[in-house]
Symmetry: C2
Subunit: 227 residues, 2 copies
Amino acid sequence: VEHFTRVLRAYQERLRDLMRDHRMKYVLIFKNHGAVAGASLAHTHTQLIATSVTPRAVAVELLSCREHHQVKERCLFCDILAQELQDGSRIVREDAHYVTVTPYASRFPFEMWLMPRQHSHCFAEVPEAELRHLAVHFRDVLRRLRHVLKNPPYNFVLHTSPNTQIEPKRAHYWETIRYDYHWHLEILPRVTRVAGFEWGTGFYICPTPPEIAAGHLRDARETEETL
Amino acid sequence: VEHFTRVLRAYQERLRDLMRDHRMKYVLIFKNHGAVAGASLAHTHTQLIATSVTPRAVAVELLSCREHHQVKERCLFCDILAQELQDGSRIVREDAHYVTVTPYASRFPFEMWLMPRQHSHCFAEVPEAELRHLAVHFRDVLRRLRHVLKNPPYNFVLHTSPNTQIEPKRAHYWETIRYDYHWHLEILPRVTRVAGFEWGTGFYICPTPPEIAAGHLRDARETEETL
């Protein structure tokens, strides 16, 4: 847990530092685990790529969040969290600070989203005291995944706010991002293949219902031996 | 070539038949070749999936084409074709009826787009006499790919008009689709891995410039032995 906390702190420090460079509109932090998931080094590692444009996938998410907020006056992810906590069937782990679910419209079997309970648009602003809670939670759900699917290849991607330090603010979603966006981690096991259907449609065929996946992940025992 | 022509005719007949079913908004025809590309059967085959919604990826393409046509009063793909034919560096094969290029912003090494020279929005409307020309062209570019990359895994996806037989026409891109959309085939070799960066951004890192790929594909000798 100590080491995991230090890794998360490194993410934050790199994010904060790169956001001082006004050429950088977005900083993407991600992990590729296993050759199938694109890992190019044998030892475990995460990567960071800063881009001078807001990535297309991020922009689509920001616009969806903004649209929801304009209609409901609530954060989309806060609404998802409330609904998932009430329903319960897709919860993998919840504690006082974080919740991990298998999303309702999972693209991949055992896909998981880890979200802070408290609304926050930017991972770089998570208080130092929270990082240890996140390390405990994040480490636990990754271990559950490793246990249930026998160390599968996976990607995880940090979804956080673009660099809001940039002036002048250009895109129309900048002004409200603090209220309508909610940082989270998407964990994407790579046990199915993306094929012609997915390339042609942008839709995903997921053979495992998220409720079944969440059940297996909840049941995984947290012992050092098996996890 | 005879057999390939019959396969293309089968695609057309299935498309035409399914478009009589007004529940079906889109008919996707695609091929997965090789396990990495998601092929689930050992023998070569294509697949067809009809959907009751216009797939997200198709809608994005249709809207881009419509936007271009509104500004330029020309088809986006006709403009790309004219530019590629003038430039020449990304042409894989051109004949009187079809042109295959490695697109300027290729997502994958050796990605190819096969387009009819003459504007046409719908593959189902290609005249019977044209199918043989298409078979000769399509077969040749697939053989070039097989030769150059030693039978790589790949997907191809037919991009054609949604079912325009449906009444009442709902989405705002229906009315102009005949003028602003241009059917084509996208051939996507799967020699690189889609990893965290691609999931997080919707951008693709392509290590092979399309001009280099096109050169190799043009140079491939058309002999029965090697192709």
